[in-house]
């Protein structure tokens, strides 16, 4: 029975992903048979999976194929979440780039090469970047340049250089350029001093300059490079990407704690309420919305298998990503996203990349010191914020921050028109989507924590 390919799996004629019941399968088409054979017999398939560079694929019965073009069928290990490069912090993009080039080097050593190098082929699985596309490998054709070189530069080198030398917020360019930042755009946006950095001069500036001056078809069948040059190119790209680390400004954590407007006692009371509430249900997934540097995401990782830690601030997310170690690393996925403007459906047919809100849905959403933020900075009425939370989490833990809280007052400076709320309006808004299961004061502060169960439930 012919299956409908996954909406993101249509470009490569070598095969595609599809659903069979609740399983996600990958059909390998006959035209990829020889490459697949080489992938297996060279040991690259097992070796790269063992090194944690590729997602494990289990071969299943050929009877499960979608149609008669198929010569093999694999079931990839299920990912707990699919994040897109425009939702990563620079550190995640860099690690994904390093993993991709490490894979290219291993492939070259086994007579193969990556035929594409898009960042969308990398996902964070148990805290590490893994390549998810089995069909990306092709046998090296003698003398042929690396076909994915430009793509690698657009997906990794250009955005990382922009984050490092201009501003990490330029990673948002990836939302409009789904095949990576065009090199001529990157070259124009980068500061002049990057022309003096040899690796950026070569891979961005000169690359863009030459590419823009070569007509269509000019290199067809003519450009030839030696095998050693492919290794040298991979080596150079690895060094380049390694040098493009973006360091968040010092004191992100200090700012976080100094901006806190309540006492240590209040913080510890908040922590213990959240911890107690998360421990009571067997939650599989938690969304920490407005996570900042992830203090409560770490708490949640003790209770749930998968914690999405979302914040709009690159410095906070990068700080969290860099500080994660086992076991939190395997459970917490930090993501950069603005809940007031979440990433939309993108790509071919508007369905290639799913909208963020449809992916974030979790068993519980933590909205700690978030609601007042969205009310005061995004201008949303409290009822709209609660409606958004209800899309994100079946249950919720929500913090009430009164309008006279020092943090709220700081956001209110220079604003004379906003949707003010008091506690009764706040609670009425909560009751439109949830039922209030428990209420706990936040120590000696005027803040209050609510544990919210699905509307109409007795919990």
């Amino acid at each position: 029975m012919t299956a409908i390919p996954h909406p993101s799996s249509f470009r490569d004629p070598a095969g595609f992903l599809y659903n069979r019941g609740d399983r996600l399968l990958r059909q390998v088409n006959r035209e990829y048979a020889e490459d697949l054979e080489h992938l297996r017999s060279s040991g690259l398939l097992d070796e790269s999976a063992a090194a944690g560079l590729t997602l494990r694929h289990e071969e299943v019965a050929l009877a499960d194929r979608s149609d008669d073009r198929g010569c093999a069928v694999f079931e990839p290990t299920r990912l707990s979440f699919v994040a897109y490069p425009y939702e990563w912090c620079p550190g995640q993009l860099r690690d994904a780039g390093l993993a991709t080039i490490a894979l290219q080097r291993r492939a070259l050593a086994r007579g193969m090469t990556l035929k594409d190098a898009t960042a969308y082929n990398v996902q964070f699985h148990e805290g590490r970047p893994v390549h998810i596309d089995l069909l990306s490998f092709a046998r090296v054709r003698a003398g042929r340049p690396w076909v994915a070189y430009r793509q690698y530069c657009q997906h990794f080198v250009a955005p990382l250089a922009l984050a490092r030398y201009r501003d990490p917020r330029l990673l948002r360019l990836l939302t409009v350029h789904l095949d990576g930042v065009p090199l001529d755009v990157a070259s124009r946006l980068l500061p002049a001093r990057t022309w003096l950095r040899p690796s950026l001069f070569v891979h961005i500036h000169a690359h863009a300059l030459v590419s823009s001056r070569v007509a269509d078809g000019a290199a067809d069948g003519r450009a030839r490079v030696r095998g050693t040059a492919l290794v040298a190119l991979a080596d150079s790209l690895e060094r380049c990407v390694r040098s493009l680390a973006w360091r968040p400004p010092a004191g992100v954590w200090r700012d976080y704690t100094s901006e806190r407007s309540y006492s240590d006692a209040a913080l510890s009371s908040k922590r213990s309420s959240v911890e107690r509430w998360l421990a009571r249900g067997a939650y599989r997934s938690v969304l920490d919305a407005g996570a900042n540097v992830g203090e409560f995401s770490r708490l949640a990782a003790g209770a749930a298998e998968r914690v999405l830690s979302v914040d709009a601030d690159y410095a906070s997310v990068e700080t969290l990503y860099r500080s994660l170690d086992e076991p939190g690393r395997a459970r917490i996925l930090p993501l950069v996203a603005d809940l007031a403007s979440p990433s939309p459906a993108l790509g071919w047919n508007g369905s290639e990349r799913e909208p963020l809100l449809e992916r974030l849905r979790s068993d519980v959403v933590l909205a700690l010191a978030l609601v007042h933020h969205l009310v005061l900075t995004a201008g949303a009425p409290v009822e709209a914020v609660v409606a958004l939370l209800a899309r994100l989490g079946t249950e919720a833990v929500v913090e009430y921050v009164p309008m006279d809280d020092p943090q709220a007052r700081r956001l209110l400076r220079n604003r004379d028109s906003y949707h003010a709320y008091d506690r009764s309006r706040f609670e009425a808004a909560l009751r439109t989507r949830y039922s209030i299961a428990e209420v706990a004061p936040v120590g000696d502060s005027s803040r209050v924590l609510y544990r919210l169960a699905p509307a109409g439930s007795a919990a």
Binding site: A109, P145, W146, Y149, R150, P182, L183, V202, A206, H207, L209, V210, S211, S212, R213, V214, A215, D216, G217, A218, A219, D220, R222, A223, R224, V225, R226, G227, T228, A229, V231, A232, L233, D235, S236, E238
Partner: protein, 84 residues
Amino acid sequence: MRRPAATLRGPDVARAAALAFALLATAWPAHAYVDPGSGSFLFQMLVAGMLSLAFTVRHYWTQLRAFVRRLFSNGAPDDRDPTP
């Protein structure tokens, strides 16, 4: 450790230089349809020699350093892998 099979040869340099000159001196009209993939292919051919040379030099330099280090550490094996 991998050993590069070939290093840069004189004709490579001459060919790359001639091609670079031809490319940079010829500006096709900006409105012409441009295939950046072709450009990237040619560009790789241009820089391949230079990158190979840098790679080879770095390779032998690493080996030399390892050799010197071994010399001064009473022959204790150097277990650090210079290629990450």
